[in-house]
Amino acid sequence: MGFISTARVKSPWIMHFETGSCNGCAIEVFAALTPVYDLERFGILNTGNPKHADIMLVTGCVSFRAGRVLRNLYHQMPGPKAVVAIGVCALTGGIFHDCYNLAPGVDKVIPVDVYVPGCAARPEAIIAGTVMALDRLAGKAGPPNIAPGEPRRGLEEGRVVEIAPGNSDK
């Protein structure tokens, strides 16, 4: 088991999805991949495909349409999987928390493991957040967060494709 969790921790492949915000954080995610920060040092690859990803980096405050997509993508990731919400937009909606087209915050739509605050979150913070999410892959983390009792602002169940029941950890 130790062998496997080592491999998981050493090879977290990421996928980034921007759900609607100023994309400042999104650009910082990209920046983290480039030579100056070089996420690949940690074995991280930006796969761009949920089926290959272990960690989903989500930026943005989750507009309704993006929320629909976000659920599908999460559903299509194989477990064990982790979600890192990046930027205050993705955490709570940030400055946009009162906007009408949002279910502000990623954890209103899918379970979140790590919150990376900042506006925009610095690449270093993104690296730190991604590293924190490795605990989930190693099977050491508690259950991920789902927004505690807050209304879903219209993301009705039947409207989006079903999510597989149960925890993301298998």
């Binding site: 999104a26 990209f30 480039t34 507009s63 993006a66």
Partner: protein, 359 residues
């Protein structure tokens, strides 16, 4: 007889950093129809702005988009200033110019990287973004933040710069220019890059006007259109000529942006030389009234803010017209008849950023 192919290109797609969907209908790999679907990034900022006061809105406007957040703040501040009938002090105007050009630099480098990525040229992407980090450092040095730099305020700039910052800036600009000199020829001349961009996504001059193309897209089609000629901030005191290309394709758009990066470095140097000393913020009081329009030249083209106020604490209506919004019709036109492998290059050639498109 070839079968039709219908695919969703986006919203989540590795070549699109932001959610945007193009429903492509293709015959083999020839695109015969492209229908954009938006709304993934729509937040409702125009409505939110009506609930925040004028000073708070500066920060909201910065977050219309994180790439050229300064431009939005600038444009918004200018429009409110014109409602109030005040002006920024001269030093602030030069500072605004320098930050605007820094923003253009990092935005263009970002784009150059992304277009290299879209061409499948990974190392070039890496080089462009490595160079961009130097400008991010400049930006952080002058403002304290990499992305949402929050230095613009109604009536001027929030904070003055000391000499250390200015020297740092000068020094780093030289580094940037040197490393850019190393990779610029790749964009200009690399046969494979040219193979991918030359002739891809042609918009003629006539089409460009009717399609409402702005910024580098228009300038690559031979239209001399640059809002900086309006002379806002300190542009009226600087010497520059809009960069115009005439081959109307993705290559031309790339070259326009590439030449603009050198132009931006030049403008910053000019501004640093001419920058006067003095106040940076004019205090203002009261509430503005009336309506005003302010336009600035963003990295992606003309940005327009329309503001109407009825004397209340909050704006009555704030309208943001962003350049990508204006370039999407051109994109739809360009995609028809292109090849699937050119879709990323063409889609990026308008430098689409959706966050401010949808606000």
């Amino acid at each position: 007889m070839p079968g039709r192919t219908v695919i969703p290109f986006g919203p989540q797609h590795p070549v699109f950093p932001e959610p945007l969907q193009l429903r492509l209908t293709m015959e083999e790999e020839r695109v015969i129809d492209a229908v954009p679907a938006l709304g993934y990034m729509h937040r409702g900022i125009e409505q939110l702005a009506q609930t925040k006061d004028y000073a708070q809105n500066v920060f909201l406007m910065e977050r219309v988009c994180g790439i050229c957040s300064f431009m939005h703040a600038l444009c918004y501040c200018q429009s409110v200033e014109s409602l109030l009938g005040i002006e920024a002090p001269p030093r602030a105007r030069f500072m605004r110019t320098i930050q605007a050009e820094l923003g253009r630099l990092q935005s263009h480098y970002l784009w150059l990287g992304l277009v290299a990525d879209a061409c499948g040229f990974e190392s070039l992407f890496m080089q462009a973004w490595r160079n961009r980090e130097m400008i991010m450092d400049c930006q952080e040095a002058v403002s304290g933040s990499r992305v949402t730099i929050s230095t613009c305020a109604i009536g001027g700039c929030r904070r003055d710069w000391d000499d250390g910052v200015l020297q740092e800036l000068t020094r780093r600009l030289d580094d940037v220019e040197r490393s850019m000199d190393a990779i610029a020829p790749v964009f200009f001349e690399d046969p494979l890059v040219k193979q991918r961009t030359v002739g891809a996504g042609i918009i003629t001059k006539q089409e460009a006007t009717l399609l409402g193309a702005v910024g580098p897209v228009a300038r690559a089609s031979g239209i001399v259109e640059d809002m900086r000629r309006l002379g806002y901030a300190a542009y009226d005191e600087l010497d520059f000529k809009p960069v115009v290309e005439t081959s109307c394709d993705s290559y031309a758009r790339m070259i326009v942006r590439l030449r603009e990066t050198f132009q931006a470095i030049n403008l910053i140097r000019q501004a640093l030389k001419k920058m006067p000393a003095g106040e940076v913020l004019n205090k203002w009081k009261g509430t503005p009234e009336g309506e005003a329009i302010s336009r600035v030249e963003q990295p992606r083209g003309e940005l327009m803010y329309y503001i109407r106020s009825n004397g209340g604490k909050n704006p009555e209506r704030l309208r943001i017209r962003t350049p990508t919004l204006s370039n999407i019709p051109s994109l739809v036109k360009m995609l028809k008849g292109s090849r699937l492998s050119d879709v990323p290059v063409i889609a990026l050639s308008i430098d689409s950023c959706i966050s401010c498109t949808e606000r």
